[in-house]
């Protein structure tokens, strides 16, 4: 699997944070109670069938007040069901109430904007000049609550990171919010959980939970403008980028490419995947994606690019230098 951080990188039963853990506990509680009730109910049913057959074989007459003798049994069953359902309701409400408020006055705030079919990510909590934009990969410090402010550009999307929390809808023209906290470092996969068009399945997001020091290093790197081309090949690649259709949709901070219709590519090479978690970020995959994205994600808004081999090669060298 792509960018796999461990065997549990997308798993509801392996929570990596407090919310997912509470929801997993709720799930296990419901499962155990329901399983117990089911076992008891089926045992009683089997016992009743066996008793009836025994009576039939022994030609015992059916007791005249048979139905009435069931009154206490039925009343107990209804009472027990009502109590169990109320306990479920109460537990559910308590979990919901503990999960909804962010347990911090100034949490790290990340704005996520859903697009068909990728995620725009803006780190927004610091001073204006410290804001930075990335796509399809979110880094968060371990052990701190992180507030996600969500909206969408085109249709309704939904964010769900099974190990951490969610789901929460991203709605055009409307802002929602959700918070996650990761207690175990690792790479977790999140997925769009609301059908949003032909490439809904290939709209993934990786959440990298790392130590505060690692996170700060990453954030400082992400705030830098795009790396200057190091050699003449990369320089030619840069020329290709800013004089072809790339420039119509993509942003490279600190250059003349400034469109925000597609994912920000300022630090493309620092990301694990391309095309919203669809492919590992390798030179070959990048080449295939640039030349014929409609083969990898049919319907994607990225057009095919018929580049000369020399130009494509230089462009790849440049893009791979954007650490």
């Amino acid at each position: 699997m792509i960018g796999r951080g461990g065997p549990d990188f997308q798993h509801v039963l392996h929570p990596a944070g407090p919310q997912a853990a509470r929801i997993a506990h709720l799930g296990w509680f419901a499962f155990v109670v329901a399983a117990t009730v089911w076992v008891i109910t089926v045992s009683v049913l089997l016992w009743a069938i066996a008793r009836a057959r025994r009576r039939e074989r022994a030609d015992e007459p059916v007791p005249a007040d048979g139905e009435r003798r069931m009154t206490w049994g039925v009343a107990f069953g209804i009472g027990a069901s009502a109590v169990i359902l109320l306990v479920f309701l109460g537990y559910d409400l308590v979990v919901g109430r503990t999960l909804s408020p962010v347990p911090s006055a100034h949490p790290l705030t990340i704005e996520v904007n859903g697009h068909q079919w990728w995620w725009e990510v803006q780190y927004a909590d610091t001073a204006v000049h410290d804001r930075f934009t990335t796509a399809n990969e979110i880094h968060i410090p371990v052990g701190e609550p992180v507030l996600f402010v969500l909206t969408a550009q085109d249709v309704i999307h939904s964010i769900w990171a099974p190990n951490l929390g969610g789901k929460k809808d991203l709605i055009p023209g409307y802002t929602t919010s959700v918070w996650f906290q990761a207690d175990t470092p690792g790479v977790y996969r999140a997925q769009c959980a609301e059908f949003c068009g032909v490439q809904h399945a290939k709209m993934a997001l990786f959440i990298v939970a790392e130590s505060r020091a690692q996170f700060n290093r990453w954030a400082i790197q992400q705030r830098q403008p795009a790396a200057k081309p190091a050699d003449s090949v990369a320089g030619h690649g840069y020329e290709v980028f800013v004089t072809s259709s790339c420039v119509m949709c993509h942003n490279l901070e600190g250059t003349t490419a400034g469109s925000h219709a597609g994912p920000d590519l300022t630090h493309l090479a620092s990301r694990r995947t391309i095309a919203a978690g669809t492919l590992p970020n390798t030179r070959g995959n990048l080449a295939g994606w640039i030349v014929d994205p409609q083969r990898i994600k049919p319907g994607s808004h990225m057009p095919p690019n018929m580049l000369e081999p020399k130009d494509l090669d230089a462009l790849l060298t440049y893009l791979q230098s954007l650490k």
């Binding site: 004089t243 072809s244 259709s245 219709a261 095919p304 690019n305």
Partner: protein, 182 residues
């Protein structure tokens, strides 16, 4: 007899539906570069060709809505607003400086025009230019209503394809310009 006519009606309607809703992910544009595009009706002697390139996207709702999306993405709206005009000329009226025919609009986008219209050659793939052409022409009602979106939130002087909207009269009372005009 009844059944066969039903079959004919169904077959015919499915054909109509196909054209409107057809989506091809790997586009084959009608013509990559229109040649000898005239932007003036004046010709020495007897005017020769008066035929225009047919843009097959005009009956296709998907291509047209893609054109609308690109109109925003590529910042056409920065100068033309949503068709009403601003720094650039309005696109929803019947005045065309460089012609309203598909290949004329194509050339305007690709080559640019004096006094402000940038040239997008090499920046926008040709199939997307044709989608933009479709949308631009739909703004002033030059495309068939069947392909027009009924769910446009911007100003439109021509109603979309759904019957309720069709029942409304256009707010401006001018006759749509003929398809062939300079």
């Amino acid at each position: 007899m009844r059944a066969s006519s039903l079959v004919i009606v169904l077959a015919a309607s499915s054909l109509i539906g196909c054209e409107r809703e057809e989506r091809t992910f790997r586009e084959t544009p009608p013509s990559t570069t229109p040649t000898a595009v005239r932007v003036s009706a004046l010709q020495p002697g007897t005017p020769a060709d008066t035929t225009h390139t047919v843009n097959p996207y005009e009956r296709n709702a998907y291509a047209q809505s893609e054109g609308q999306r690109l109109f925003g993405w590529y910042n056409c709206s920065g100068c033309h607003a949503n068709g009403g005009g601003g720094m650039g000329p309005a696109l929803m009226d019947d005045e065309w400086i460089y012609g309203s025919a598909p290949e004329q609009i194509y050339t305007t986008i690709v080559e640019g025009r004096p006094n402000g219209m940038p040239s997008f050659a090499g920046r926008i793939p040709s199939y997307q230019v044709w989608q933009l052409v479709t949308y631009v022409r739909s703004l002033s009602g030059l495309t068939p209503s069947a392909g027009r979106s009924a769910r446009v939130e911007h100003m439109m002087i021509y109603p979309g394809s759904q019957s309720l909207q069709k029942a409304e009269k256009p707010k401006w009372s001018f006759t749509p310009p003929a398809a062939v005009q300079p």
